[in-house]
Amino acid sequence: FSFYTGAMDSRGFQQGCFNSFQSSSSDEDLVDIPGTAMNFSLRDDVPPLDGEIEEDKSYNGGGIGSSTRMMDFLEEPIPGVGTYDDFNTIDWVREKSRDRDRHREITNKSKESTWALIHSVSDAFSGWLLMLLIGLLSGSLAGLIDISAHWMTDLKEGICTEGLWFNHEHCCWDSDQVTFENKDKCPKWNSWSQLLISTEEGAFAYIVNYFMYVLWALLFAFLAVSLVKVFAPYACGSGIPEIKTILSGFIIRGYLGKWTLIIKTITLVLAVSSGLSLGKEGPLVHVACCCGNILCHCFNKYRKNEAKRREVLSAAAAAGVSVAFGAPIGGVLFSLEEVSYYFPLKTLWRSFFAALVAAFTLRSINPFGNSRLVLFYVEFHTPWHLFELVPFILLGIFGGLWGALFIRTNIAWCRKRKTTQLGKYPVIEVLVVTAITAILAFPNEYTRMSTSELISELFNDCGLLDSSKLCDYENHFNSSKGGDLPDRPAGAGVYSAMWQLALALIMKIVITIFTFGMKVPSGLFIPSMAVGAIAGRLLGVGMEQMAYYHHDWAIFSSWCSQGADCITPGLYAMVGAAACLGGVTRMTVSLVVIMFELTGGLEYIVPLMAAAMTSKWVADALGREGIYDAHIRLNGYPFLEAKEEFAHKTLAMDVMKPRRNDPLLTVLTQDSMTVEDVETVISETTYSGFPVVVSRESQRLVGFVLRRDLIISIENARKKQDGVVSTSIIYFTEHSPPMPPYTPPTLKLRNILDLSPFTVTDLTPMEIVVDIFRKLGLRQCLVTHNGRLLGIITKKDVLKHIAQMANQDPDSILFN
C-alpha cells in the first residue's frame, strides 16, 4: 500500500503516529517528527477544521449513507476525520456524497429564514464568483509573465537607453530612424558591444556581444534553478503530468500552494529568458491551477471538499491554456481531453467562463500592443489546393515520427537522470545545458531570437512589405498589390535562410530532448511547434520554388494559374507546427481548435486535421502513450488511464489480495475487539483501511473503515472521553453490546465506518472491475465469495495488474 508510509516506518512513524495527529490537520503529517507533538494548528493547504466544528456537524463522516444523522448531531465530529494523507488517493464517492448532503442541508434550511435563503443563493453563486476570480488572477499573472519575459529576453542583447524597461521592439516603437531594410535598428537601442566598447561593427564587437549573451543566459538559468531549489522544489518541470494525476484523485500537498505559485511565476520568466529550448504553456497551466487552488480557500464549499475542488482545478487549467494561446475554446477542450479525469457538464460551462475572463483580462493588459493575445497570430487567408494534401500528410508523418522519437529519447534521458549520478547535480546540469544552448544558438540568427519570435516569423506570409531574409524574393512583375503576390523565385537571402533553418532544426531537435524535464519550469509546446514550423517552412519554400520553376508539370498547371499565388509557405509552417505538437502530446480536437483560433478562420481546418490525424496515427503506431502519460508512468503515479480498454480475460480473484500463500485478510470485528487490539493491528500493518466483519467465523461484511480515521478517533477518545482505556471494547454497531458490570466504558466508532463499501464477487471479470474503478473513482473494492468476505482489490493492485498484462514493470507503481 502506501509507499510513503513504508518509507517513514524507520523514522519511528509507529510510535510517533499517535502523537502526530493531535493537531489533526494533514499538512503536519507530511513532516512526521517523532516525539514532538504539535500544539499549534497551522494549516497550509488543508481544510481548517479548528473552530468551525459547528458548521461541520452535518458535513462530516456521519453523512455517509446513514439515516441516523439526527443521532450524530449530538456527537461532535472529530476534526481530521475525512481528510487525506499526502501522496494518497481521495475517495471520490465519499466526497461527492458529502457535497450532496451539504447541498441538501442548505436547501432544507433555506426555507426557514431569509438569512438562510441568502446563504443558499450565495452558495450557488459562489462557484461563478470563484471562476471570475480565477480568470482575473490567471490573466494578470500571464500578462506579468509575458511582459517580463519579453523584456528579459532582449536584455541578453542590449538595453534601451531611453526607458530601461522597454524591450527592443518597444524601444524602437516611436522612433523615426527605422529604415525599411533594417526594421530593428534605432539609436535608442544599444547592444552590449555599443555600451561597453562603443562600437557596433567588427569582430571584437561580435565577440563582446557573444560573451554577454552567454553570460546573461547563464545568470538567468542559475537564478532560476537556485530559486527553485531553495524555495519550492515542486515548481520545476512542466506540471501537466502531476496536475493530471491530481485531477484523477491523487493528493500532493504543496504542489498547488502559494510558494509554488510565486516561484513558478518568477522562475518561468527567468528560464524562458535564458534562451533554453523550452516554452511557457505547460507551466502556465500549473500557475493557473495554483491560482485556482489558492482561491478555493476563500470559499467553504470548495475548501472542504476534494472532489469539488478538482472541478475548479479543471476550469483553472482551461483558463491557463486560454491565456497561453489566446484560445478560450481550445483551452476548454484541452482541459477536457488532456488534463481532466471527470468532466461533468457543469464544469464545461464554468471552464468556458473562466477561460473567457482570463483571455479578456490578458487582452486588457495588452502585453503586445494591438490587442493581440499571442505573438504568432496569423492573418493571411489565401486558399490552399487539393494536391497540397500530399505534402501536408508528409508533414503529419514527420510530426508523428518526431513525436515518437522525442518521447522515447526524453524518457530514457529522464530515467537516467532519475537513477544515476546525473540526478545529484541539478544545478550543474542546468548550467551546462544552458551554456551549450547559448553557445550554439548565438551564431545562427534563427536560434538567437526567442522561439516565439521564430515561430511568428515562420508563420508569416511574405508580401511586398516584408524585408527579412526569409522574404528575399526577386520581384519580376509590375503589380501594385501589396497583398497576394504570385509565386516568385527565391533570392540569395532565401537560400541562406534555408541553410540556417535546417541547422536550427537539427539543433532544436537535439537540445529539446535534454531540456525538457530539467529542474526549472519547462514547457513543451513552443519547442515542438518550432520544430514543426521550421520543417513546414522548408517544405513550403521547396514546393513554392518547384511550382515556379516547373509550372508546366501536370499537377501545377491544372491547379495553379500562372501569375497567381499558389503555394503559401506560411501555411505549411502552421501545419507542420500542428503536426509536431500532435505527435508529441497526442492531442486531437483541442489541437485543431487551438490552431484555428490562432488563425482566426475555418479555411485551414482540413489541412490541420489531416496533418494532426496522420501524426497521431503514425506516433501511436510507434509508441502507445503521449509525453505526459509517459512521464506519469516514469514517476509511478497511480493514474488509471481512462482511455484504454482492458482486454484480458482475468477474473477478480486473480488480482485480489491476499494471494494464495499470504496470511489472511486483516479485518476488524464489529464489537469484539478492544482498543489495544485495534492499536496493535494498526501498528503492525501498513494498510490504509480495514474491512469490518460481524465476526471472524462468519466473515459477513459490515463496512470499511480507514486507518487515518481510526487513528484520529482513538487518539481523540483517549484524550477526551472519560474512562476509555486499552481494554475498552470498540463497537461499530448502533447500540453497545451487552457488557458485564465493572468493565470500562465502550467506544462507539460507527460514525467513521463506511456502511456501503463496494463489493464484487470473486468471479467478476477484471474488465468490469477496472471499469468500476474508473467510472466511480474507487480506491479499494472488496471481494466476496458466496456472500462472505474473501479479499480486497486496491487501485494499486489494479494498476500493477494492468502493467503486468502489458508486459511492463509492475514494481514501477510507487504510490497508492
Binding site: 500544539n39 511582459i147 523584456w151 511586398l464 524585408s467
Partner: protein
C-alpha cells in the same frame, strides 16, 4: 484547541492574498489608465517603388488622420508618383501603454530582488547567526541529516525548542520553521529520492 494566535497563519495567508489582489488591481488599473499621448503611433510601411527607396514612417497622429497622405513626407516624392507610391503603403494605427510595461517590470524586479535577498539570508547569513548564538552544540545533526548541507538542516531542533514560549515572534518563527521543514521534505522527494517530478 484554538489558541488566540492560532489564526496568525490564516492572517498571513489573507494578507498575502490581499497583497496579490492589490497588485492585480494596480496592473489592471494602469492598463486602463489615462493614455499617454506619446503611446499612440501611426505606422506606415512603404515598399520601394521605381527609384524611391522603401521607408517606414512612425508618426504621432490621431486615428482619423492615419493614412498615407498625411504621414508620408511628400517632399521626397514627385507629384505623379505619389498615388502609386501611396497605394502600396500600409498604414496601421497602434496603441500601447508604457505605464503598464514600466509598472510590470518594476513589480517583477522587486519581487525577484526580495526573493534573492531572502535566499541569500537563508543560505548564508542565518547559519552564521545561529552558529554564533547557540554555539557548536547546535550543529550536532541527527542520523537522518548526515550529509544534508541544505538550508534548513537544523529545523528539527529549533522546532523542539520553540515549543515552550508563547509570544507572537515565536509563533512567526515557528511558522517559518514549519515551512522550512516542508520545503526540505519536498526537496528530498524531488532532488534526492527522485520520487516525484523526475
Amino acid at each position: 484547541m484554538a489558541t488566540p494566535w492560532g489564526g496568525l497563519p490564516r492572517l498571513g495567508a489573507s494578507l498575502s492574498l490581499s497583497c496579490l489582489a492589490l497588485a492585480v488591481l494596480l496592473l489592471v488599473r494602469t492598463a486602463a489608465a489615462a493614455k499617454n499621448s506619446e503611446d499612440v503611433r501611426c505606422k506606415c510601411i512603404c515598399p520601394p517603388y521605381k527609384d524611391i527607396p522603401g521607408h517606414i514612417y512612425n508618426r504621432n497622429i490621431s486615428q482619423k488622420d492615419c493614412d498615407c497622405l498625411h504621414v508620408v513626407e511628400l517632399m521626397s516624392v514627385r507629384e505623379p508618383d505619389i498615388e502609386a507610391y501611396c497605394l502600396r503603403c500600409e498604414c496601421k494605427y497602434e496603441e500601447r501603454s508604457s505605464v503598464t510595461i514600466k509598472v510590470t517590470i518594476i513589480i517583477y524586479l522587486s519581487i525577484l530582488g526580495l526573493l534573492l535577498l531572502y535566499m541569500v539570508y537563508l543560505t548564508l547569513v542565518e547559519p552564521i547567526l545561529k552558529r554564533r548564538l547557540f554555539g557548536h552544540s547546535q550543529l550536532i545533526q541527527s542520523d537522518d541529516d548526515v550529509g544534508d548541507h541544505q538550508p534548513f538542516a537544523n529545523a528539527h531542533d529549533v522546532l523542539a525548542r520553540s515549543r515552550s514560549r508563547a509570544n507572537v515572534l515565536n509563533k512567526v518563527e515557528y511558522a517559518q520553521q514549519r515551512w522550512k521543514l516542508q520545503v526540505q521534505e519536498q526537496r528530498k522527494s524531488v532532488f534526492d529520492r527522485h520520487v516525484v517530478l523526475s
